[in-house]
């Protein structure tokens, strides 16, 4: 959680849907050597190829991964690295994650795929009770740092109750694991490689809405992006917006609209939710005095609550308005009512205005 220096802040469009090449002076930035335009699942696929290439004891397993997976993230891996390293598991999430913990405890890099984040709950016990506590309770004799769990999360337009959930908040409440969520293809490749190589167990949520929709120039070489460092993807002075994953696209649209009303918005991508970069967010709130958090998961008990509480603790006297949270409603993720449930651009815009006018 290093202090972000001013040079590290990125200017310009970070989401990449427009495809503009952004001006960057970041020190730990990706050099734009040979890069290729690709979407999110291709970027993740590349990251997995690199991970398996560089470590002979890396494995990828999960449901349907050997033909490429239901989202094509694992295409070509089984053919290239063989069925001993890339294999299908039976339909048992608890078994998949527990088995991954065992692999990791013996020094392998286990990259487990949970087909949809909604299906991660049977594995919740293994993640919370075993993965998170392994190093702690063995006195550092064993650890499952080699474990990375990848799961597509988030709304997709027609997913309904069981193909659209955002369970990140549950995992952020567990000391011992890291939670990382990329917003775009370039971020995903770098972050996933960092997660795989990080000596801690990581849950990596991929925004499934962006698998095909987000297209960006992604460098073809092996690069890693730092964990626990948030990124300011849009500079502003009136209000700080904090988000992650696919929600940033919505928030950026709201920022653009707010700009027309003269409100200058600063947009931060947390990237790593646990442990999260409090310093960057704090520095931004000290600048603007207002903060708005937005996520798809239900508002009560969502990760926005943690951010809100921390910011209030640190910046109470600087705040000009209450911390706003624009999130999903407190209902199960609906089927027909999805557009009404989601924290849409208008909801974010209304909240921006209300906060600025407080």
């Amino acid at each position: 959680m290093a202090l972000r220096n001013i040079i590290g802040k990125r200017i310009g469009n970070g989401i990449g849907l427009v495809g503009r090449r952004s001006l960057s002076t970041a020190t730990c930035d990706v050099e734009n050597r040979n890069s290729k335009s690709m979407n999110l699942y291709s970027a993740i696929n590349q990251a997995l190829h690199l991970a398996l290439e560089t470590d002979p004891r890396a494995f990828v397993f999960g449901e349907d991964v050997s033909f490429g997976g239901v989202f094509r993230c694992t295409t070509g891996l089984a053919d290239r690295f063989g069925k001993a390293r890339v294999f299908n598991t039976p339909l048992c999430e608890q078994g998949i994650v527990g088995f991954g913990i065992g692999l990791a405890a013996m020094g392998n890099r286990a990259i487990a795929e949970i087909q949809f984040a909604d299906y991660i709950y049977p594995a919740f016990d293994q993640i919370v009770n075993e993965a998170a506590k392994f190093r702690y309770r063995s006195g550092n004799q064993f650890n499952c740092g080699g474990l990375t769990i990848r799961a597509p999360y988030g709304a997709v337009g027609h997913g309904g109750h069981y193909h659209s959930q955002s369970p990140e908040a549950f995992f952020c409440h567990v000391p011992g694991i890291k939670v990382v969520i990329p917003r775009s293809p370039r971020q995903a490749k770098g972050l996933l490689l960092s997660c795989i190589r990080d000596p801690n167990p990581v849950v990596f949520f991929e925004p499934k809405w962006l698998y095909r929709l987000a297209v960006e120039e992604v460098p073809e070489h092996d690069y890693m992006l730092p964990l626990s460092e948030a990124e300011v993807i849009r500079q502003g002075s009136d209000i700080t917006l904090v988000g992650w994953g696919a929600q940033l696209t919505i928030m950026e649209q709201a920022c653009i609209e707010a700009e027309k009303d003269g409100i200058s918005c600063e947009l931060i991508d947390l990237k790593t939710l646990m442990p999260w970069d409090k310093e960057t967010v704090e520095a931004s709130v000290r600048k603007t005095g207002r903060v708005l958090i937005s996520h798809e998961a239900p508002v009560t008990g969502g990760f926005g609550a943690e951010i809100s509480a921390s910011i209030v603790e640190r910046c109470f006297l600087r705040l000009e308005a209450p911390v706003a949270r624009v999130c999903g409603l407190d209902t199960p993720f609906p089927l027909v009512f999805e557009p009404f449930y989601m924290p849409s651009k208008n909801k974010v815009l209304d909240a921006i205005k209300a906060t600025v006018d407080y």
Partner: protein, 432 residues
């Protein structure tokens, strides 16, 4: 494809799984005698293989095998398995299932329904064979491939179609969609998107029925619960936990495995250490039966026995139905992985054509009568679509209903109005 079963007797067939011939009135099915003493017994019981039933897979005796009896055709009193009325009823249900699912596909591609839709084409014999033997108070628990289970149980096609379209007139008021068909009236305890989630729920429902009968002394309560699930689910912890509980407490439940060999793209044979699922029953102390799931009459015979056992209080049964889905896993699945020869093999065993052949050959029905049924079903399905089309979309207020039992707990604000009518609601900042 790695074959787990010897092809010795079926060298002509590329898929030498346990299957019998397509003649539907051949009753060389095997099931456990109700008075057998295999429950929990450690005796090694060898499966008697009928001439059409080849199970030799690898050398070495098989321990956990159900006690089986070959039913001689002469034992059953009439030479036919069904009467004309039953035959027509079965035919109508099979055709309803098929026509409905085909219409679903059409509607999906026209954008009238959306989301994840999983069609049941090819597996109708299992649903019809089992569910048509149930009473209204018996319960059915299904998976995401649940449209036809709901239809067989008696949920009107209109209600199911409206639910798929997401309208208020649907069986769940449009809140569930394709994978969540519930009906209190017909005791359909859902559609479950998650594999294996429904099995413990079915176990609980079966317990209730037994409790009512034995503790509350409602002597006529002999309700049975059927839990349907697939081959992939049989590798999931919930399945094993429930087999144990059901056998331990002798619950009136039948576990029906619809083994269609594929879990999206994963072949059952490559995912399971012992692909013969029915053998898992005796391991827990209940009979395990394998039946040809493409033949509705065979399924019906086995179902009669299994449901009869449960009704008499003799405990659970595990039935593995070898079946096949003609379409992909869902409407979004391009279905490129399965061998066309395998598909053709099972297409030739289409349950509807098989029953039609049986009915006509045994003079139980004429072509004309069957055509009338088909026409009637077409009209029913068309009417369902029209009804669903014209039904209203649910009001926004419905979004907040039914989160808790008390609508005030969430949906109704302190001012007595629905929270979604509060202007601050669009901001997402209204306190809910």
């Amino acid at each position: 494809m790695a074959s787990a079963f010897s092809a010795a007797k079926f060298s002509a067939q590329p898929f030498p799984l346990n299957h019998t011939s397509t003649t539907s009135h051949d009753s060389s099915i095997v099931f456990a005698k109700p008075t057998s003493l295999f429950l929990g017994s450690t005796r090694k019981l060898r499966l008697t293989s009928s001439s059409k039933f080849n199970l030799s897979r690898r050398s070495g005796t098989v321990d956990a095998v159900s006690d089986v009896v070959k039913q001689k055709k002469s034992k059953s009193s009439p030479s036919l398995l069904i009467t004309k009325e039953e035959g027509l009823e079965l035919y109508e249900d099979l055709v309803l299932g098929r026509a409905f699912e085909d219409m679903c596909a059409q509607m999906y591609y026209r954008g009238k329904m959306f989301g994840f839709v999983h069609l049941y084409n090819g597996q109708e014999a299992v649903s019809t064979g089992f569910i048509k033997l149930l009473k209204q108070q018996d319960s059915v628990v299904s998976t995401y491939r649940d449209h036809v289970h709901a239809l067989s149980k008696g949920v009107p096609a209109r209600a199911v179609m409206s639910e798929l379209f997401g309208k208020t007139t649907g069986c769940c008021r449009g809140q569930g969609g394709s994978m969540h068909m519930f009906s209190r009236e017909h005791n359909v305890l859902g559609g479950f998107a998650f594999i294996g989630e429904g099995i413990p729920i079915a176990t609980g429902a079966a317990f209730t029925s037994k409790y009512k009968r034995e503790v509350l002394k409602e002597a006529d309560c002999d309700h049975v619960t059927l839990a349907f699930f697939g081959d992939g689910t049989c590798n999931n912890g919930q399945f094993f936990e429930c087999l144990n509980m059901a056998a331990l407490w002798k619950l009136p439940i039948v576990f029906v495995v619809e083994n269609n060999l594929w879990a999206i793209g994963m072949s059952h044979l490559r995912a399971t250490s012992d692909p013969q699922i029915y053998k898992k029953g005796p391991a827990f102390g209940m009979p395990g039966i394998h039946v040809d799931g493409m033949d509705v009459l065979k399924v019906r015979e086995v179902a009669k026995e299994a449901i009869g056992r449960a009704r008499r209080g003799e405990g659970p049964t595990l039935v593995e139905c070898e079946t096949y889905r003609f379409r992909g896993h869902s409407l979004a699945d391009p279905d490129e992985l399965r061998d066309p020869a395998e598909k053709a093999h099972y297409a030739a065993r289409d349950p509807i054509t098989a029953l039609k052949k049986y009915l006509i050959e045994n003079s139980l029905a004429s072509e004309a009568e069957l055509k009338t049924i088909e026409k009637k079903i077409d009209e029913v399905v068309e009417d369902a679509v029209e009804f669903a089309d014209e039904s209203p979309v649910p009001a926004r207020s419905q979004l907040l209903e039914n989160v808790f039992a008390d609508p005030k707990g969430f949906g109704i604000g302190p001012d007595g109005r629905y929270r979604c009518e509060d202007p601050k609601f669009t901001e997402g900042t209204a306190h809910v």
